[in-house]
Amino acid sequence: MASSEREINIYKNIRCLVCQGQSLNDSNSDFAVDLKKVIKKKIINKETDREIYKYLTERYGDWILFSPPLKKNTLLLWGFPLIALVGGVFILRKRLVFYLKQ
């Protein structure tokens, strides 16, 4: 059975734990193949992405996902780029105004 786009997107978001930074989508290691089978079954059973990710993080920790979930302890992780951007704009505000006026 060919993999659907949704399926591939899920595999791309999951870390192959026995590979060097590869996703499940990129890896053909035994663990990756087995885990893909398990996930495929869950998709056939009409489980949502959220349910699948919950299953995985319960067993393997948040680290198994490439995009960490938005939780209290990852709020800073997700928010930091925005904070840095806002901070940078603030620091350079006078310069920006000068250039914009030209």
Binding site: D34, V38, R59, Y60, G61
Partner: protein, 171 residues
């Protein structure tokens, strides 16, 4: 004065980042095996290795104070290394074995050669039971209490130090 302050601010920001990155790089970024500690063991049904009609569901509640689950196979070299420790543990704690992606003949030879510490052995032909338990590299060992809680989990072969930890835990 303002210029000095700016330099000071810049240097402190760089220093803070240095500290954060240093500790982050040092931090062990391997999967944290503790994520399942003190959680209930996921329910699994083991099909007996010796008799396909015999089933065992885990966790078992309110029977043994503690029991051990060990995921192993005959082709796994560290499993062979740790096996004597399982034999030592046999008299102290009930051990459920999960034979992972293995051939019955090879597994049987392995046990005939090195001894059988298992109270019950289940077959995990496709690795799905191991995944259900959050395992990713064998051997892996769990100690479960009478409430079904995982009180100890170890990835990799058991050694003397871990043996002593387990003994201490199940006193």
């Amino acid at each position: 004065m303002k210029k000095q302050f700016k330099i000071f601010l810049l240097v402190s920001i760089i220093a803070i980042f240095f500290v954060i990155f240093y500790y982050s790089l040092k931090a062990n970024n391997k999967n944290n095996p503790n994520v399942m500690l003190n959680k209930v063991l996921p329910t699994i049904e083991l099909i007996s290795f010796t008799n396909f009609n015999l089933r065992q569901v885990l966790p078992i509640i309110n029977k043994d104070k503690y029991y051990l689950i060990n995921i192993w196979s005959s082709w796994c070299v560290p499993c062979r290394e740790e096996h004597p420790i399982l034999i030592k543990l046999k008299d102290k704690i009930k051990i459920y074995g999960i034979n992972y992606k293995d051939k019955k003949t090879n597994a049987t030879s392995f046990l005939n050669e090195l001894g059988n510490p298992f109270y019950f052995i289940g077959s995990d032909k496709d690795g799905s039971v191991a995944i259900e338990l959050g395992a990713y590299g064998i051997p892996e060992t769990y100690v479960v209490n009478s409430k079904g809680l995982i009180v100890f989990k170890h990835v990799g072969p058991l050694n003397k130090k871990i043996y002593l930890r387990i003994i201490e835990l199940i006193k």
